[in-house]
Amino acid sequence: MRVNVTVNGVPRRADDVWEGESLLFVLRERLGLPGAKNACEQGECGSCTVYLDGVPVCACLVAAGQAEGREVRTVEGLADGGALDPVQEAFIEAGAVQCGFCTPGLVVAAHDLLARVPDPSDPEIREALAGNLCRCTGYEKILDAVRLAARRARS
């Protein structure tokens, strides 16, 4: 089937999509956007987190056809041209990236948190990132990055 979806503000079209395929597969394999990562394929790890109509979701759990006519924003769509989003900057500066596999999902989840809650408490940060697993960097640096991004946004 054909799927029409607006990705990062650009109308895109994917052809020959299998009806049981996920939005994640369409993004990565058909539209050339490998930012969202494919890991658990069961919504456990959060590494495929993207915005669907402004709401963070696991792209592996969205059927491709369910994205028809809707707006998707991936980690590739957070930077403004050459300038990284402040959340991305903060992840780099805080050393919150080691292997980087979980990073795109965490960046989108943190981006959403800070858009809703500009000055989050630590429990709020933990709750917002509870659906994103990291297996090497360690969560302390990731929490540091979110605190840093929040501080910068306020000043």
Partner: protein
């Protein structure tokens, strides 16, 4: 495989009647896992996310009619006051990403014994609104769960909504898991006090082939509360009552040993959850029931 995208409920029902094997998909948090792992290859997916009628909730006399497509996120944000135990259970579902997509309707459709909403639906006396081209059937939650991942829906039926009573009285949900987030219940429990009828609702999850009510525990507690005139003049409950209630809840379970926990652990944990949630609920009732003077 076909991907069916009805725009209205009527269209969806016509499609389901024509193709009873079509698998309904809403948040995708169960169905997509089965597809991704090739555990299921249905002839068709019936996407319900385009149907506006399923997306909202409304207040009906004595209850909330919760559209099958309302995600947990909205239950938490919008219904914490009206349906406190369902909101609590919803907060314990998966992660923010899962709660943004997953629905109570999907929990009912999947009918997993571990589904977080089920004990609350049973304890509060919720009723499932099942629809087909033949008409509407109102199925009490008590009659809805038939076996492991089997429910009372006919092949041509869809869940339009679930009617959850607004009891206006204390109700609680608690769940045991290995961490706070992203966890399938090892066991779960809900209690709802129904002072208007002198009844108590008590139901357990993840500790039997289906979610189920603990009817002996319900009757025991209702008798204790009725006999002591506790509904009118509530006083702290004796330890013997709290303990016996927990034992009866544990006795209602038929748990198995599995990767998440042993049967013995589940029974023990259920008795603790039952006592604890009873304490919370009763504190809420005595607090509110106390005369202002």
């Amino acid at each position: 495989m076909d991907f069916l995208r009805p725009a209205t409920l009527a269209e969806a029902l016509a499609l389901k009647a024509e193709r009873p094997g079509a698998v309904p998909i809403a948040g995708g948090t169960d169905v997509m896992v089965e597809l991704n792992f090739d555990h299921r290859r249905p002839d068709a997916l019936l996407d319900l996310t385009g149907i506006a009628e399923l997306r909202d909730w409304s207040a009906v006399p004595g209850a909330v009619r919760l559209g099958a497509g309302v995600p947990y996120r909205r239950v938490i944000d919008e219904l914490g006051g009206r349906l406190p135990a369902l909101a609590t259970a919803s907060r314990s579902v998966g992660s923010p990403q899962i709660r943004n997509r997953g629905t109570v309707g999907g929990n009912l459709g999947a009918a997993s014994p571990a589904g977080d909403a089920h004990p609350v639906l049973l304890a509060t006396g919720a009723v499932v609104e099942a629809v087909s081209t033949r008409g509407t059937r109102m199925i009490p939650a008590t009659d809805f769960y038939l076996g492991v991942k089997r429910n009372a829906l006919a092949p041509d039926e869809l869940i339009a909504a679930v009617h959850v009573p607004e009891t206006g009285a204390p109700q609680q949900f608690a769940k045991v898991g290995t961490r706070n987030a992203m966890v399938i219940a090892v066991c779960s429990f809900a209690i709802a006090l129904h002072p208007a009828t002198g009844r108590v609702g008590a139901a357990l999850g993840s500790a039997a082939p289906t979610p189920r009510r603990a009817t002996a525990a319900e009757d025991f507690l209702a008798d204790e509360l009725g006999a002591g005139d506790q509904w009118e003049s509530p006083t702290p409950l004796p330890d013997s009552t709290r303990r016996r209630f927990g034992e009866l809840v544990a006795a209602a379970a038929s748990p198995v040993d599995d990767v998440r926990g042993t049967a013995a652990y589940r029974r023990h944990a259920l008795s603790v959850l039952a006592r604890r949630t009873l304490d919370w609920a009763w504190q809420g009732y005595t607090g509110r029931g106390r005369p202002c003077a």
